[in-house]
């Protein structure tokens, strides 16, 4: 655990309590079964807004608390533990794009509303199923045209931060915007979003795109950490209660060692995730490396823990009535989002001149 300020500790504990009481996995299951068009529970999102979590990375003069990415990451981690379907991990980096951007009008128009949870904002970067492919979306005059694939919260977002060939643009409202839902295994909101001569406000060049994508990536590693922790804890509890051969499964050394190995990997994962978030907050020049390190390790570890969750639960883990499948499906989507482990190992190699 990073050394936390008193404020951060309070925030983390509050987030954990809220997630456990107000947004347990049963809430996600209900949502999955009801399949609302926006992909999240508006009531829960509005509570998140009231608690001010939407403003954690937003400057104070725009209605935020400017606590930074480590703080937001801790909240996202707690939500991840219970698979809370919340747009928080999308709105954070989108707000940062506006805050770091060069358009003051956009800041005063949107940041306070994002901070309060009135507006869902999201990033629209990738144009194919795999992160890091070519971007062809282009701006002519003040209009943007292109198609973005698998935009998280794309079903409901009011504000899109869109990557074009020459940098980031803000597109708000529905003029020239067409959304097509993509139903995926994790039952969360993902949409293909088409921009046709949509009015676009410039925020900054390719440097800004890279910065913002790194923030989005770091944030989902925090969600991944939450998932991994909880998948591990649930499995650990199960092994202590399930009896076969006249004794709890947790007495079998073959399983004990596997749990011990996973715990070890989880420790490493926590360090790299917190490391990336801290690098962002302190503005370190090697933030890109820290982010790739975090996403690569997080991808491998979450894969290990979420797959083992199914295996070690045996038959019950394969059933829809158990939560294990939810963890594995969300894990697989997060592993692929913003570049998988292979992508980030390769990027890490490049950044280090291998």
């Amino acid at each position: 655990m990073a050394v936390l300020t008193e404020e951060q500790t309070m925030l983390r504990d509050m987030a954990r309590e809220w997630a456990d009481n107000e947004s347990p996995v049963t809430a996600f299951r209900k949502l999955r079964n009801a399949a609302p068009a926006e992909g999240y529970d508006p009531a829960a999102w509005s509570e998140i807004g009231q608690m001010g979590w939407g403003g954690i990375v937003i400057p104070e003069e725009h209605g935020g608390s400017a606590l930074g990415y480590l703080s937001l990451g801790m909240v996202v981690e707690q939500l991840g533990r219970n698979l809370a379907a919340s747009p928080l991990a999308s709105t954070g980096p989108a707000a940062t794009a506006i805050a770091l951007g060069e358009n003051d009008a956009a800041k005063s128009e949107w940041l306070a509303r994002i901070a309060s949870g009135d507006v869902v904002a999201t990033l629209a970067v990738d144009e194919g199923p795999i992160h890091g492919g070519p971007v062809t979306t282009a701006v002519v005059g003040d209009r943007i045209t292109g198609t973005k694939a698998f935009v998280a919260e794309g079903d409901s977002a009011t504000v899109f931060i869109v990557a074009a060939t020459d940098g980031l643009y803000l597109v708000a409202g529905d003029e020239g915007v067409t959304r097509s839902p993509r139903r995926m295994a994790d039952a969360r909101s993902h949409a293909e979003v088409r921009f046709d001569d949509a009015p676009a406000v410039p925020l900054g060049g390719p440097d800004l795109t890279a910065k913002v994508v790194d923030r989005a990536t770091a944030l989902i590693t925090a969600e991944m950490l939450g998932l991994a922790e909880q998948a591990f804890a649930t499995t650990n509890d199960y092994l202590k209660t399930r009896v076969q051969f006249g004794q709890p499964l947790s007495t079998f050394q073959a399983l004990q060692h596997r749990m011990a190995r996973m715990l070890t990997e989880l420790e490493l994962m926590r360090s790299v995730v917190e490391g990336a978030l801290e690098a962002i907050d302190s503005g370190r020049s090697d933030t890109d490396q820290a982010v790739s390190l975090a996403k690569a390790v997080a991808g491998d570890t979450l894969k290990l823990v979420s797959r083992e969750m199914i295996q070690l639960h045996g038959g019950i883990g394969m059933t829809d009535e158990h939560d294990a499948g939810f963890y594995m499906k969300r894990a697989a989507v997060l592993e692929a989002m913003w570049g998988n482990a292979a992508f980030h190992r390769e990027r890490f190699a490049r950044l280090n001149g291998y």
Binding site: G315, G317, M318, G325
Partner: protein, 402 residues
């Protein structure tokens, strides 16, 4: 190595098989993957499918090595391999399968009475009766011998009470081969092997949904189900021995399912799918170097597995049937199958995780389901951990730690 004299009749057999397949295999079925139907439940056969099943059933070639007296093909292993070659050549797959073929048939051939064989084997060979496996119970999974379902001796019949779970295909099955307790005082020796009609009064099935969305298996409840004594296989109390034998058949056919490891994805080799989704570098190689090396590892793993399966088959000349080594094969089969599915979704990126609706090809949606379903391969038929325990104890002679 086969001598020329041995090869001659094989050549004749090849001719005959080729001709028969030409006359009976509907070309429309060539290279048709049964796809997910095996996992998601049966579908109504098309006229071509029905004709093909019935032709293979008549000929006995769906179960090529079973004796002709009971409707099998009566072929030698060598002839069976020739038949498989010839079928593969024209893209024909065997329409006759299921638990009757994979597990129950071979076990009954070994342990059943003459009457039992005549009653059940030909129907399996013709695909007329669907069997399910009533082994697992809520409290008896890996520890199968802890099963509680009780069959009380009532003179000419048993009265069966209890619950089974994870019964694959229970809702579609005509009959169930079940392990039941006939004696509560002994753990292993109190178990018997009983055949139960699924339409008997008192049998109730409740489908369970899997993480893949399909419901191919059930909770199965038995209340005061009358089962004739004639349906006992082997002696009372011999069920554990027979049941374990059946599990060996299950494992060897499941590891044979590693054949699915060599299967094409979206009609193409995995490496080609990778090139299509990930692009190629200037020399035409999969552009993602890390993925490329993992694809190679997987391919090598798969080939090593296939070669080992072949070697094991050749070495089993003594024809003593499956052994503890099937545990090794089952685990490797599960590994290559699951690695392949993981690589498949990784290659496809977000497209490999589609659930339904617009924006995904059929092959992509199938890949998601195959990936999810595939997680069961290392659980059912005895989990990988249990196979490792068997290897440690029965092959390596290691001791229980308790």
């Amino acid at each position: 190595m086969a001598t020329a004299a041995e090869l001659e009749p094989l050549a004749t057999f090849r001719e005959q098989a080729r001709e028969w397949l030409m006359a009976n295999f509907p070309k429309s079925l060539a290279h048709q993957d049964a796809g997910l139907s095996a996992l998601e439940g049966p579908h109504d056969p098309t006229p071509d499918e029905a004709a093909w099943t019935s032709a293979m059933g008549e000929k006995g070639w769906g179960v090529p090595t079973w004796p002709r007296t009971y409707g099998g093909g009566g072929l030698s292993r060598a002839e069976t391999r020739v038949l498989q070659d010839e079928m593969a050549r024209i893209g024909a797959s065997n329409p006759i399968g299921g638990m009757g073929v994979m597990m129950f048939g071979p076990t009954l051939l070994e342990y059943g009475t003459e009457e039992q064989k005549q009653e059940h084997i030909p129907a399996i060979a013709r695909n007329q009766v669907r069997w399910c496996q009533g082994y697992s119970e809520p409290g008896a999974g890996s520890d199968l011998a802890a099963l509680q379902m009780f069959a009380e001796d009532k003179g000419d019949h048993y009265l069966v009470n209890g619950q089974k779970t994870w019964t694959s295909g229970g809702q579609w099955a005509d009959k169930c081969f079940a392990l039941v307790r006939t004696d509560k005082t002994k753990k292993h020796e109190g178990i018997s092997f009983l055949l139960i009609d699924m339409d008997s009064p008192g049998v109730e099935v409740k489908p369970i949904r899997l993480i893949s969305g399909a419901s191919p298996f059930c909770e199965t409840f038995f209340s005061d189900v009358k089962v004739p004594k004639a349906n006992l296989v082997g002696r009372e109390g011999e069920g554990w021995t027979i049941g374990k034998r059946l599990l060996q058949h299950e494992r060897s056919s499941l590891s044979g399912g590693g054949g699915s490891a060599g299967r094409l994805l979206a009609g193409k080799p995995l490496s080609q799918v990778a090139k299509d989704y990930r692009g190629t570098d200037s020399e035409g190689r999969v552009s993602d170097a890390d993925l490329r090396m993992r694809l190679v590892r997987h391919e090598m793993d798969t080939r090593a597995f296939m070669l080992t399966l072949r070697r094991a088959a050749l070495e089993a000349k003594s024809n003593s049937g499956p052994s503890a080594a099937t545990s090794i094969m089952k685990n490797v089969g599960a590994r290559v199958t699951q690695d392949r599915a993981e690589l498949g979704i990784e290659i496809m990126g977000m497209n490999g995780l589609g659930w339904d609706g617009e924006g995904f090809t059929e092959a992509e949606l199938a890949q998601t389901r195959t990936w999810l379903w595939g997680k069961a391969v290392s659980i059912y038929g005895g989990s990988s951990e249990i196979q490792n325990n068997i290897v440690a104890k029965r092959i390596l002679g290691m001791l229980d730690h308790q």
